[in-house]
Symmetry: C2
Subunit: 209 residues, 2 copies
Amino acid sequence: MAQKDTVDRILDAAEALFAERGFAETSLRTITSTANVNLAAVNYHFGSKKALIQAVFVRFLEPLADSLTLRLDDAEAEAKELSLDDLLVLLSKAILSAHGDDVTRTASFMRLLGLAYTQSQGHLRDYLSERYGRVSKRYLDVLRPACPELSDTDLFWNTHFALGAAVFSLSNYGALEAMLSDDSGEESKVQNVIRRLLAFISAGVKISL
Amino acid sequence: MAQKDTVDRILDAAEALFAERGFAETSLRTITSTANVNLAAVNYHFGSKKALIQAVFVRFLEPLADSLTLRLDDAEAEAKELSLDDLLVLLSKAILSAHGDDVTRTASFMRLLGLAYTQSQGHLRDYLSERYGRVSKRYLDVLRPACPELSDTDLFWNTHFALGAAVFSLSNYGALEAMLSDDSGEESKVQNVIRRLLAFISAGVKISL
DNA sequence: CCCGTTTGCAAACGTATGTTTCAAACATCT
DNA sequence: AGATGTTTGAAACATACGTTTGCAAACGGG
């Protein structure tokens, strides 16, 4: 089929539109007309708007969880001690590689993650933490021995500070980039910001009160 | 009058409801019934829902901007060099003191700030940056010489990483605190988290690529 | 006390939304 | 080819929303 499947076209449109306008601000009519699909198709294929939102997240997070699991398996197979920076790079590579190093789409999806946190969307938080709780817990378990000098409370808050820095800056990447004078190099700007972010996080996470 | 003024009751209800559910997800009917006020009162006193949202932000940010300006005046009057940590403490004290050290309300309002960033709400971003651009620019101007070893690009990204860490963690403070085992000391937990946050930011901002 | 203005209230209006319906088009299998 | 199950399409439905209206009550200066 020359045209992509209806389901995928809906998911593509929904992912992009949600990211730039939020969930409640994006109507099914906008989504379906962007996707060149009949309005009823969303309820037919997904059942409801809520379910569509969940499907958008699952389509992105499933490969990410797989990629992360795989890399953690590899790392543990080598049985070497993983440093904090090793783990940060591992995570960022897992995220980026999960969708063919499409940095734009990844940054756009980070915006969705930010929305999922701030916007109440209770059903989403419950669903995601139920579905991906195991992977994130495993990552944290590996992170724990990489920061032996930190107490559990230190680590807890520092990781959430780091998560905030990542989600916030990447989800607002578009707006932030526009504020910069364009004298900086053109190529792979996002990559550079990610390098900056990792350095920032690496320094912060090591702090204990 | 025993009852607070209608305008204030609306603002109180709107601030709390917006913070916990988002802008689009909070209807005027929910706001007015929470405030025990007639539905039409919002459009009468504020003109529109958009204007109400702006008014909520102005009521909170105006004292904050004043407090920050005052403290910057004092600091510059002493003509001492302000270190990065001095400036972080100055800012956090300005934020907290602006509303009688009501940490709960401050944390709740941080959530609103996060929403203002993530949800498109273009009118809000424009309005706020037009109204408070001068104060924030002044703070950044003082911050600049406190980090002499950083390039402008370094400083730009690091401050936004820091902002993300702050907004995200404080705006989700309620949910995060609930995840912690309650063995930690009861008193002034928020204050402790703010101390942690400042240490985290202080370490991260100093990083250059 | 009166009258112009402000505030409060109930009801309605117009619109946009998520969802449902049901018949037509399509695909798949025997 | 014909029957059967799946997918699309246009239209309608029910509801929730922001906003407006019309009028009564309260207020305040002359």
